[in-house]
Symmetry: C2
Subunit: 397 residues, 2 copies
């Protein structure tokens, strides 16, 4: 089996990140994802360096997909898309709310062609309300969802953004799961449905369990102290940075022994887990003073021997060679005739019944336009006419 989603066809009108990362996850799991692009291509093809309209970000948001370049402003292009929809299980779009309907691709239009389709809409802020028509970028959702405040500078209180686009990609995960659930439901009931996910809702729901938990009990919004895990457990050693955490009594005993600081066990400030939270500043300062006297690898060895949770803080390059990353085969080295050598993360979920194959590289713009039209029953002559009229796009020879 090529993956648990083998046999399902997804017509993917999305661009940028939130949609493409969602459908890539489904493509990695065996779905036949057809990326329908305008003749100019998904903008991500041109943001950053790369060859052939394939930047690093494009490669890791669109692998295992096929590209069909279509001029949807032409009748002929729209007819191709409609025929494609007739063959599909899922239709996904992340236009601003209202846009798909104006294009003739609203839920009713699509369902008229394929009654049992799963129609997926990904939006920034939701489908109605004051913000629904606003343009969205990831930082706007970091701002609105409370994430930027959670990360605020402790001393100045100034909010901070996270330097990776959590809302975009988390929305992708949410949409991928919901799409899979809707397919599972259809397998039982035979009915398709409309699945809606907004980036704002996805982030609020994701942050809540500890990031927004203070809002749980009305009237107690300010009383609940931040979670212990919120502490910045970054320590400088004599040659770099590492992290170490000791929550339970046994871990704390292990830490004191490993660091050769058994006298901390007698310190009244650190006698219980609760006291260690209350006196966290003093505890972390002492820990830091000790850790900076030796190298990261020396500390990791002795902390591991005492079963204390610890890890080096790796930069991007350090990640490549780390023994656990290698043991997991988490990063694959791949070859492509055009692109040459490139690396991709291996999909995180591993399925025992799947005979894992390395991914097919993300497509050039329109790379499978002719192949897909052939599958839909267009004759060579029809394909040639569509290409010559500019209704479909194909790569330059």
């Amino acid at each position: 089996m090529s993956g648990p989603l083998e046999g399902y066809r997804i017509v993917d009108l999305t661009s940028m990140i939130s949609g493409p990362v969602a459908t890539q996850l489904l493509a990695d799991q065996g779905a036949d994802v057809i990326k329908v692009e305008p003749l100019t291509g998904d903008l991500v093809r041109y943001m950053g360096s790369g060859q052939d309209g394939r930047t690093g970000t494009f490669l890791s948001s669109n692998r295992n997909k096929r590209s069909l370049a279509l001029d949807l402003k032409s009748d002929a292009g729209m007819k191709v898309l409609q025929r494609l929809i007739g063959s599909a299980d899922v239709f996904v779009q992340n236009f601003r709310p209202g846009t798909a309907a104006r294009m003739g691709l609203g839920e009713a239009d699509v369902r008229a062609i394929r009654d049992d389709i799963i129609y997926v809409s990904i939006s920034g802020f939701g489908e109605s309300g004051l913000y629904s028509k606003k343009r969205v970028y990831d930082p706007l959702i970091q701002a609105l969802s409370g994430l930027a405040t959670i990360q605020a500078d402790r001393e100045t209180g100034r909010p901070k953004m996270i330097r990776t686009i959590i809302p975009d990609k988390l929305t992708a995960m949410t949409a991928a799961q919901a799409t899979t659930a809707a397919l599972l439901s259809r397998a039982k009931t035979g009915k398709g449905q409309h699945v809606k996910v907004s980036m704002l809702d996805a982030m609020i729901s994701f942050l809540w369990p500890e990031g927004l938990v203070q809002l749980t009990f009305p009237g107690q919004e300010k009383q609940i102290s931040r979670a212990q895990l919120a502490q910045d457990l970054v320590f400088e050693t004599s040659d770099g940075y590492m992290t170490v955490g000791a929550v339970s009594d046994s871990e704390w005993q292990g830490l004191c022994a490993a660091l050769g600081q058994e006298q901390w066990l007698e310190d009244e400030r650190f006698k219980t887990p609760h006291k260690r939270v209350v006196n966290a500043d003093a505890r972390l300062k002492l820990t830091q003073e000790t850790l900076q006297t030796r190298t990261t690898s020396e500390w990791l060895e002795v902390l591991d021997a005492h079963d204390v949770p610890c890890a080096p803080i790796l930069d991007r390059a350090g990640l490549l060679g780390h023994p656990q990353v290698l043991a997991n085969q988490a990063i694959e080295e791949l070859e492509d005739v055009q692109i040459g050598s490139y690396r991709q993360p291996r999909p995180a979920a591993r399925f025992s019944e799947v005979d894992y194959q390395p991914p097919r590289i993300a497509p050039r713009l329109g790379e499978q336009s002719e192949e897909i039209l052939g599958e839909l029953g267009y004759s060579d002559e029809e394909v040639s006419n569509l290409r010559n009229s500019g209704a479909i796009g194909v790569p330059a020879p």
Copy 2:
């Protein structure tokens, strides 16, 4: 329909966050999730303030589940679990690798009872390799995956942790999607399988599209500049903080007009999107100087009028009353006889075929022990014996 996962039973042996948040998402979608807890309960019941072993974090990681408290060290308790497994579609555990097998709950043991079960293993670092037996906390994965380095202080280079447990919760999303995909596959093939997800793999795969994209092309690891979205687009106004982004030419023109700074359009440093990236520091400094002269709401109004992406930076309390959050009904106010008023985020994915019901509150420890045993065919007398012998736990009257 109560949700797309209606009719599926999940036996949930997980504790803490990565497992419970995964199964909660499936419970929110209608699955019958039975949380099997030791007689002492999931530790999260006691981390933080709350009533009845139900902290804010517990409430938002375990809603819509039922609790069965079992002593798995007793033969009688283990027999109850085995009978329960016989009725289940999914078995999920997040013990350290090797532990489940030692308990007699490895994949082979569970599959011997129920041949077509989906067996899900969530680990910190993977199932083999040097780190596989190490204890894990969320910051360790932030350290190992490169996330702490991505967030490093720009001036000192010191790594920084994110103050919300991204790896734990992202792993939950990954596991929930993979579990759903395995159920979908089984609906077609009739076969169960083993699904494995590690926090480390989940984070590497999640970060990659732009956070680790620099690793894509061997030999170019250092050349690719960080993504534009990585800029910290936090601006101080006369009464708070806001964010605003202007990437395209039209957005930049809108920004200059909204801010009354049309002369920036003539500035050579800002003439193209590329030049605006190269001269980001100067551009953001000028933007900041202008924005601090008026209030957030004044700026939002004029920026919206020019269709420039913008948003206030909300703190947790600001989130509760924001009109878009209200329009989305993203946060529900609920009532419980024991707990009183409490709030929960509404699940982000909305399904048109689902008649949405507010969640059932997270259970007290063992709250449904007797009910579940009854469903499994135990007589009242057998239940009573199991309770009296301490093999099952029930709440205090």
